[in-house]
Symmetry: C3
Subunit: 349 residues, 3 copies
Amino acid sequence: MNLFGKDLITTQDWEKDELTAVLELAEDMQKKRFSPKYTKLLQHKTFFMFFYNPSVRTRQSFECASTELGGHAQYLEPGGMRLKTKKTAGEIIEDAARVMSRYAAGIGIRMLEDKITRYGEADDMLREYAKFADIPIVSMAHDKYHPCQGLADIMGLRKHLGRDLKGKKLLLYWGHGALARSWCSVQEALLIYSRFGMDVTVASPEGYNLDPAVIESSKKNCGDNGRKFEITHDPVEGYRGAHVVYARNWMSPNAYHDGEFHKQEEVDKALQHSRWICDEQKMKLTDKGLYIHPMPIDRGHEVTDEVASGPRSIIYDVAENRLHAQKAIMALTMSKFDYKLKKTAAKVA
Amino acid sequence: MNLFGKDLITTQDWEKDELTAVLELAEDMQKKRFSPKYTKLLQHKTFFMFFYNPSVRTRQSFECASTELGGHAQYLEPGGMRLKTKKTAGEIIEDAARVMSRYAAGIGIRMLEDKITRYGEADDMLREYAKFADIPIVSMAHDKYHPCQGLADIMGLRKHLGRDLKGKKLLLYWGHGALARSWCSVQEALLIYSRFGMDVTVASPEGYNLDPAVIESSKKNCGDNGRKFEITHDPVEGYRGAHVVYARNWMSPNAYHDGEFHKQEEVDKALQHSRWICDEQKMKLTDKGLYIHPMPIDRGHEVTDEVASGPRSIIYDVAENRLHAQKAIMALTMSKFDYKLKKTAAKVA
Amino acid sequence: MNLFGKDLITTQDWEKDELTAVLELAEDMQKKRFSPKYTKLLQHKTFFMFFYNPSVRTRQSFECASTELGGHAQYLEPGGMRLKTKKTAGEIIEDAARVMSRYAAGIGIRMLEDKITRYGEADDMLREYAKFADIPIVSMAHDKYHPCQGLADIMGLRKHLGRDLKGKKLLLYWGHGALARSWCSVQEALLIYSRFGMDVTVASPEGYNLDPAVIESSKKNCGDNGRKFEITHDPVEGYRGAHVVYARNWMSPNAYHDGEFHKQEEVDKALQHSRWICDEQKMKLTDKGLYIHPMPIDRGHEVTDEVASGPRSIIYDVAENRLHAQKAIMALTMSKFDYKLKKTAAKVA
């Protein structure tokens, strides 16, 4: 399987076998973290990280991933980019992407929340970069998708539920709080959990619909696997029989209007739904449900401390998986690393 | 001696033998700076540096130290951390520390001056990180202590005064100027100079007392070694017979009040004490006294150019020592590097 | 040829043989990009990059260059430097430079536009650093010069016009637009293109004279090679017979006055000269002229898309050359790398 040069904007763009290759390789990289098999793959190579929005986990894990593969991640912020905007003279993406392709092995981009003026703008920008760059573009979370988080999630589920996730039930649950989180992580979860054969239930108050196109794709993924996809607006019912509860805040579809991100409006609205919290009482309805979240967690709003720090919480494992999954993605797309599925020999080309 | 995993918040928390191990190893690292014995100790490993406050020397020396040990230091600023505060939703330290422990070999934290609302707040925070992190927390200067500076100082004194510092006299001297410096460097100096058997005199105008608990510990250290600890408010007398003059500004105990750091009040107050400057005339009273300072120096206020650039100034040597001391600390606490005291064989485990 | 420790403030300070060594080595480094011959030259060594002004290409290419030579570039911003200024207490350059010399293999500095109060201030500062640092100071673009860009340009011309540039004609052409660009790149071009035997024509509207001392040196370089140096204020005539057209905006000599950089005044003035754009029609007057620009390009103002993306544009090649030229400069001045001219054996000392 040769993934050299491939962009990763969402897992939905990749074949399932390709995603499985990432997962298997990531699992081996976790076991043999500093093996010389892996520590030279990006030796003397550069990975550009463009953080239009700051991030904790994403920056730490991508920069660690580069270091552990022998390479170096450059932390770039938009202030230093001098790109053309509606208001200022500057460089067009074609020029930026073509030059960066001469310098580096890959480019990661993070862009969401207040750095865009409408939902979809960041996705357009990533695809524009991908069009002109000769090297892979990897989403480090943008308005629509967060493929690395999705892969880290599945890696966590494979560890705690076993490799075959078919028929396991995900509850994707909206949590209240003083935040207006982007759709990227939860939408990626819908796409990839459904892809790997899980039943999916989305629970939120009225008015918190996600992107209809993503819902459509997730339904289709479920259908292809003979599984169920459900939506509910009840704060409790979805918990019944769930194997995994993913409780997290997300913004409403009205968060962007008049060319701006209206965070305060969203926060005010979200704080009203105080029943929407993942707590021990609701978790009792699940089938020994795991608690999962991409972090940082808003404890006391999205979830209680009891659940987040409880024995069924796999948040730290999933956070750790970001590192391994990203190393696998970078190895497969940015180095000439050949991978054969099903645990047959992995060879360095 | 196994120091793997040990936090370093202040040298006072460590055994004297442990501190001596750092010094001996640092001295060997200076001699054999790029020896393969040392350049692989942190290979492919990450050191997180959290700079709540910016810094010149500390950032440069820690990042160089990581590079020279074969590893990589990530420069992290608080804007990117999204931690929970009184005013904003965000991540708790437990979550941040537990995840970082999965990614990295160690964490350095710098927090002082305007980034805290009361003296001691940063020390509490470092100890909170240390409680939850499985990897070492190293102070890169915080409100109370600056252990790396203290070790670099002693390394400089060992070079210029010999290995046995017993009975040598330190004058810690308050300098005026348009600054309101944190207590961390001077308090660490009191603790570690007294620990290594020196007589200590602290000289400052009235109203510039340091932390009573630190003064108490320093006195006790002196007592344990049969040495003297004195405080004076005379701007000249303390110089008599001193072997080392450490002249530097520090803020008064009133710098924090009403939940804020009042820099301008401190600057206005400090500028009134113009006699408090280390100059050639006062230095003549010493016993060929060395001039020492952690830099950056406020020349013309804390000290004259004549002294700072004179033949008895060891400021550049001490600044260089930061690099070697920090490499030794990182090697001992973040890699499985075994060290035996008294220059017997050092082995890489 | 031993260039170890040599500063690079402008190519005019170097011998022509030394510049040729950089070019030959850079060309070999391009061919053998990750050869072990080159990837250990800065192993475990640090290069400090001081970005008083942000930059895309310069930061990316210098940081990549360090990584590809096995070293590490530290990205430093002035906010973290705490240097002494007219208004604030802080460190003098002597102290900063002497300490950095203990930590690193070299220092790059970028300073121009709004970070200075008069033309020449940054050049003075770089030379002050060079005076006190024991390690090489390399300009990463400052108010007067941009030596790395000049060398990357010549490397591009050698590829597309052949190694002997004697008698080839450069048109350095002022372009209009909503920018007020520094003189560094175009002045460095005048100096080094003339040095390598090219005829030079500078074309700009009245009132856009460059530094008279640089014009004088360029004229002298041309004279020494028996070539022509001309200045015209006609927006078309200079194109006749040109082999290379370097069309770019630059600020007027009035950009700095009353101790400030007056960007808006410059932008307003520059936008009036809309005939001053490099377009296909004018390019037809050249002798199959190449289009060259240091990027980022202000398309639609300095040059049309047709020319910038046309078959005679060498902008991406030149941008790539920044990497190779800077690797060669760093190898020659910061590592003990011996180079013999004329493609005889290069040996690692």
